[in-house]
Amino acid sequence: MASALRLAARRSFAPRHAFTRSIQTTADSASLTSQVPSDASQPFTVSLHEDSFKSYRCDTPSLDVEVTKEQLIDMYKQMTTMRRMEMAADALYKAKLIRGFCHLAIGQEAVSVGMESAITPEDKVITAYRCHPFAVLRGGTVKGVIAELLGRQAGMSKGKGGSMHIFTPSFFGGNGIVGAQVPVGAGIAFAQKYLDKKTATFALYGDGASNQGQVFEAFNMAKLWDLPCVFVCENNKYGMGTSAQRSSANTEYFKRGDLIPGIQVNGMDIIASHQAVKYARKWAIENNGPLLLEFVTYRYGGHSMSDPGTTYRTREEIQRMRSTQDPIKGLQTYIEEWGVASEADLKAIDKQVKAEVDAAVEEAKASPEPEAKDLWTDIYYPGTGPASMRGREREEVHHY
């Protein structure tokens, strides 16, 4: 009897599935609607699948997108570079050269590269711990990221931050605490508004972080003060090891901003990502206040290196996503079908990217570890900290 009751109780908590028409996440569903010009910088029009966007309290972005050949080739090169870099990090981690925490974005490349393709260096980006691609795209280098993961002097934070803490002047970091970067993003957006600049802040978080209280605090302030802040939810369907349906009463993350309008985007199609970010940036800089942007995407690997990623989802699911909805393969299909470049051209890019990443890894590995004296720097503004600090052993005291 008791167990039957427990069973009944459990059933009532079973996730409710939405039966509404959902967004589609294939990576190659756009079609060509104009001639591809021979000039690489000449724009041509493609049409996205009609289920690429859903909107809440606002119009959906146009399905007709202008792209150029060189833009598509750039995107391809950047996406393959990101994947190569993350794979290199994976290998270095497994070789025990990278220690500690490491979260890879393999499978989610269309979000970072699509975003970078539609914003300017004056716009600001802040994200959580899955940050490596953004760090490179926002002005960093593969060598700088890999060296940071290895904890070397050539790292973008001098080897003192590690995987989750990488910054550039327009990228306010990887941040390790789930959701904590979102109100920080609102503050950055306030500074932009205060300076009267036509720029926007993109504050990223995941479907897991979307349930943190401070995310809603940030939504409220941003809407209250009409900040040029785009809240970007990278919904990769699993917050660590718990699926979105099991963690969130409302899995339509783009609708969770109350009065803040939202767009849901096929985050596996780079052209849809590009179009959505372009729309969001325009929205923000035209003083429409904040916007929620939900990318429906997928990570192929586990949450972090200690998670094989197969205990809470089936291998078949991962395999299906990889083989049918991969963002890089999708772009490859576009490029080849539309005659933007040949398979051989893309192979050449792949080869070049692999060589570049391999070289960056070697350079990073050659960089020395931080010196012991670096342990005591960057804690306080120089000259304003304590007179001394304890070191690793009793006799070791650093005097400033």
Binding site: S157, F167, P169, A186, Q214, E217, T384
Partner: protein, 420 residues
């Protein structure tokens, strides 16, 4: 009889006085009740009349360590003399923020209800003076306020955030400890939130109870990268707050709320700062160091006067030779990183230390100070470092006066330490 040094006399007396000091608290209650009801303001010198305060222009301008700001366009800033104005502490805090807003275009002040003055009137009239886009209300959203301030400061702006009571700082603990304190280090120096100052009223007020009388400074002591500052008076509040705002590190500025109105000084009207991480010796002495910050400094000062001239009701409990003991009273002012040098020099001289604060004893600031002093002054110490603190209980509403260290408890600790 060979001549004995003061500490030797004190030690000789110690055994005789063991009994008396243990009944100090009890006997006070009985004797007072037996004579007459206390006057309305109590027997103790009030904060308003404390000798710690600088109530004349002359003494205010001679505040030790004061650094005058550049005030070329300040009409009263000429070389012949500066103006002072009678201010209480909330007015001095307002004056500091006004100075910061006037001198730094990127400075903004925000928090719950600050646009119309804040609960303690510290930002009265600032939004009218500097505009509502620079002095504005936030939602009731502490974690959001600090996160927002961190973002703003990371853009190079000066963010002056108010948390309405320090009791409400805990929702923002993560943002302060994980984001603000570590921002510089974890970015390898690429980014910092040096422009962030978090002001917040702290300590007991007599009837604040569990959520309006706490002293959270100890919780932040281990957060390297952060500074914690507590002023004791209007002059100190203005100078230390301007230092905190200008300091290129995130600072938590804890304002003892009972002093907002009760402490009044002549405060210089021009811009000035008082350096951080420098303790101030309020009264020099040779026999015992009493170290505190914020409100208990006044209580400690009262205890010192009890020691020198005990009221009739407790006279028999204070051994005569102790009455001439020279007590060195030190205001720590910056809790983190604290002025180890001044404190250690003082204890090396006196051999005895009593630390007083309102927060509880376990894991409190006093624990850190006691262990450092023990490490550095071990062979000079004549007595164990004594901590007079709030009890390790929540701050109760009904018994808040008993929770807060009072002059008798401090006197008891001084007698015990002097006669150890």
């Amino acid at each position: 009889m060979p001549s004995l040094s003061a500490p030797q006399i004190l030690r000789a007396l110690a055994s005789r006085n063991l009994a008396s000091r243990s009944i100090l608290l009890h006997s006070r209650r009985y004797t007072e009740a037996a004579i007459e009801p206390p006057p309305a303001g109590g027997h103790s010198p009030t904060i308003a009349h404390s000798p710690i305060l600088r109530t004349t222009r002359d003494s205010a301008l001679k505040t030790p360590g004061i650094v005058w700001g550049s005030d070329a366009d300040h009409e009263d800033g000429d070389k012949t003399g500066r103006d002072t104005r009678k201010m209480n502490m909330y007015q001095a805090v307002r004056d500091a923020m006004s100075t910061a807003l006037a001198n730094d275009e990127s400075a903004v002040v925000f928090g719950e209800d600050v646009a119309f003055g804040g609960v303690f009137r510290c930002s009265m009239g600032l939004s009218e003076e500097f505009g509502r886009e620079r002095v504005f209300n936030t939602p009731l959203t502490e974690q959001g306020i600090v996160g927002f301030g961190i973002g703003l400061a990371s853009m190079g702006h000066t963010a002056i955030a108010e948390i309405q009571f320090s009791d409400y700082i805990y929702p923002a603990f993560d943002q302060i400890v994980n984001e603000a304190a570590k921002f510089r280090y974890r970015s390898g120096g690429n980014f910092n939130v040096g422009g962030l100052t978090i002001r917040t009223p702290s300590m007991t007020v007599g009837h604040g109870g569990l959520y309006h009388s706490q002293s959270p400074e100890g919780f932040f002591m281990g957060a390297a990268g952060l500074k914690i500052v507590v002023p004791r008076s209007p002059i100190q509040a203005k100078g230390l707050l301007l230092s905190s705002i200008q300091d290129r590190n995130p600072v938590i500025f804890l304002e003892p709320k009972i002093l907002y109105r009760s402490s009044v000084e002549q405060v210089p009207t021009s811009s000035y700062t008082i350096p951080l991480s420098k303790a101030e010796i309020l009264t020099p002495g040779t026999d015992l160091t009493v170290l505190s910050y914020g409100t208990p400094l006044y209580t400690a000062r009262t205890a010192m006067s009890y020691l020198a001239e005990p009221p009739a009701s407790i006279e028999h409990l204070v051994p005569k030779p102790l009455r001439s003991a020279k007590i060195e009273l030190i205001d720590l002012r910056t809790i983190m990183p604290w002025d180890v040098k001044t404190v250690v020099e003082s204890v090396n001289k006196t051999g005895r230390l009593v630390v007083v604060h309102e927060a509880g004893k376990i894991g409190g600031v006093g624990s850190e100070i006691a262990s450092t002093v023990t490490e550095k002054c071990f062979l000079k110490l004549q007595a164990p470092v004594k901590r007079v603190t709030g009890w390790d209980t929540p701050v109760a509403l009904a018994y808040e006066k008993f929770y807060t260290p009072d002059a008798i408890r401090i006197l008891d600790a001084m007698v015990e330490t002097l006669t150890y």
